[in-house]
């Protein structure tokens, strides 16, 4: 009898405790928080906005909101003549400006059936590769800055000048060369440029070594990036990633080697770097290797620079014959292409710009799911986008 009473009491107590427990749990249930990262935020270096739903510091979902810096370049090209367009598209990826001009000019040349003389092709490739070196260097310094190391970004800005000085010596512009022309280049290289460029390439290799020991050799850097933000190869391909981000996922795909049309990449002996891991570290590592490989490409092309004119014979007033052309090149940030539709006018009828960053950050909602707030920043930095390249 007593046992039953006791168990009844116990049962009641148990029920009461359960009820209290569930009340407490209701009260303590955490509420999600929506954190707007951007459009004004130090990590987005531009105006990218990421709407992150957080549980504590863990990301439940993250959506990039683009378009805060949309400048309507595709529409603007329709009211500009072909030579004028290069001024505009310089500003798409503002850290690798010269590389933006090349695919557009190549597409126009394809329509006009003009071929640039070999010397122009060589110099184009050299400048193309130099914009990659400057771009990747700054990207790596910036990634270190996003991870909290303030010093590498200053070194990156300092060492980038060696390349920009060389670009300025040829084109007259550090950031926006506007140097590529249909049928060749505006000018030839100045006297003594080859030797000084080789010197600057040696300095860039030193910068790469310094960065490697300062950043990649750092244990905190590896713990922050290894195994973080893993993008498997098939997912990367599904989302249309390209460039170093895709090669960081282990996909051996490089337009410089696979379709070197119009550029002199097949004239140099170089290697496509890939990394099988697909995490933040491997993307940064591939970028570093490509920067170093770029200096070797420049060195080789400088050695084999052919002589001759830098401009083919083109009519004074450029009218592109009717037709459509698509040219894609491996820009610093990834594959960049222009689809030009011409109606035989002074201006293009329609230009579709495929910029690398826009497609590269499409993976952001997928890769940011479940990571912590600090990793949002490190993953975004490892994807390395330029806002102008996203919004155009």
């Amino acid at each position: 009898m007593t046992a039953t009473a006791g168990s009844e009491r116990e049962q009641l107590a148990y029920i009461a405790a359960k009820a209290a427990d569930s009340r407490v749990n209701v009260e303590l249930e955490t509420e999600g928080m929506t954190l707007n990262i951007g459009p004004q935020h130090p990590a987005t270096h531009g105006t990218l906005r990421i709407v992150a739903k957080l549980d504590g510091e863990q990301v439940i979902s993250a959506d990039p909101v683009m378009g805060y810096m949309h400048r309507g370049y595709e529409k603007l090209t329709e009211v500009r003549t072909y030579p004028q367009v290069t001024t505009l598209i310089n500003r798409i990826d503002w850290l690798g400006s010269f590389a933006n001009e090349v695919p557009f000019i190549l597409a126009a040349e394809k329509l006009m059936e003009v071929e640039a003389p070999p010397r122009a092709v060589w110099i184009r490739t050299i400048l193309f590769e130099m914009s990659r070196i400057a771009n990747n260097l700054l990207g790596l310094g910036d990634m270190a800055a996003q991870l909290g190391a303030v010093t590498p970004v200053f070194y990156a800005f300092r060492d980038r000048e060696y390349v920009l000085n060389q670009v300025e010596a040829v084109t007259g512009g550090r950031f926006h060369p506007n140097f590529d022309r249909i049928g060749g280049l505006k000018d030839d290289i100045p006297a003594g440029w080859i030797a000084s460029t080789k010197d600057s390439m040696i300095k860039m290799r030193q910068a790469a070594d310094e960065l490697e020991s300062l950043v990649f050799g750092n244990e905190i850097f590896t713990t922050r990036t290894r195994g973080i933000g893993i993008i498997p190869a098939e997912v990367a391909l599904e989302y249309g990633m390209s460039g170093s981000n895709l090669r960081g996922s282990g996909v051996d795909w490089d337009l410089r080697r696979d379709s070197p049309w119009g550029l002199a990449y097949d004239q140099a002996d170089w290697k496509v770097w890939t990394h099988p891991d697909g995490d933040s570290y491997s993307r940064a590592w591939v970028r570093l290797q490509e920067m170093r490989e770029g200096t070797y490409i420049v060195d080789q092309l400088l050695d084999s620079l052919p002589s001759g004119p830098v401009m083919a014979k083109v009519p004074r007033i450029i009218k592109v014959p009717e037709g459509e052309a698509w040219v894609e090149t491996e820009n610093p940030l990834g594959a960049m292409g222009y689809y030009i539709v011409s109606k035989g006018d002074l201006v293009p009828f329609r230009v579709k710009i495929r910029s690398a960053s826009f497609n590269n950050i499409a993976i952001v909602p997928w890769v940011l799911k479940g990571v912590y707030v600090p990793d949002i920043i490190s993953i975004l930095a490892s994807l390395y986008f330029i806002l102008g390249d996203i919004d155009r």
């Binding site: 928080m33 954190l35 935020h41 130090p42 990590a43 510091e57 270190a144 800055a145 996003q146 991870l147 909290g148 190391a149 303030v150 010093t151 200053f154 070194y155 300092r158 300062l214 950043v215 750092n218 905190i220 850097f221 713990t223 922050r224 912590y372 707030v373 600090p374 990793d375 949002i376 920043i377």
Partner: protein, 352 residues
Amino acid sequence: MISSLSTVLSPVLAVEIPYWGQTSLRVLGGLVAILLPAGGLVYVYLFKMMSFMQSRLGPMEAGPYGSLQLLAEVGKFLQKEDIVPAKADRLVFLGAPFVVLISTFLLLLAVPFGPDAWFVDLDTGVYFAMAVSSVSVIGILMAGWGSSSKYSLLGGIRAAGQLVAYELPMILAVLGVVIQAGTLNMNEIVFAQANGEIFGFGGIGNPYILTQFVGFAVFLIAIQAELTQPPFDMPVAESELVAGYMTEYSGLRFLLFFIGEFATAGVFSAIAAVLFLGGWYVPFLEPEHNLYNVLGPLVLMAKIFGVAGLIFWFRFTYPRFREDQLQRLAWKFLIPIALVNIVITGVLKVVF
């Protein structure tokens, strides 16, 4: 130096200064005479050092060699508008920087500058220093909560978790010194180091960095975390949380946080110098010598610069940990090491 000030002054003024008067004179005079130049020197020294390390120009225009940069910054910040967010918890928001600064000032009270030059000669000096160093957590939490900003809140919570986690290794690291010296009085710890012997050789005393090198390393890592500096700067992580708990501050209050950060670095270096590097003592000069009352502060300043240089070298070299990695480092790595250090110190203390 300062304690002798009142004994010098009292016959001149022909007034017997009461005990509370002497104490407040010491405190006030000390704070004005030492903390402000010390903060300024550390600040300018670190600004120049930072510039050299990062290959940028650094302060050059303000005064000779940029030495008046601090004054220029104070002037700039004083002119700025002191903005309080509309939804902020006003009192908490306004009070937070002062709480942080009070912690720094209180911390300095325990530091001896010479055999007779100290603000307060506390028999529990180490204990006091460890206790007041945690006051800053309250200020940072106040700032994080009072700003009513999500970034500030995240920063404040991160700071609280981090500072609480790193109190423990810091205290455990200091415990080795306390065991070896046999006292909690900071000035007596200096005397113990000055009079110590290394295997019978007493020429240079026995700075505890030689015997407590593990403690020194743990202490340095812990104060790096206490100062919320890279690699442990998640509370202010400027690339993630804009500026963490300081996001909403402007004008003078931002300056207080900003200077508080550098001043705290200086004061923590002072404590490290006293506990591990022999404080105001230099080898080959007996610790009882009268000269130390003048020389002591200078010697200590030199040692502060050494430790502060080390702290800031780490700051400019390393990237930032993630919050969970930081906790793992504290609980799984630093605390066991510090505990083992204490055990070994205790055993050796009994043996010798």
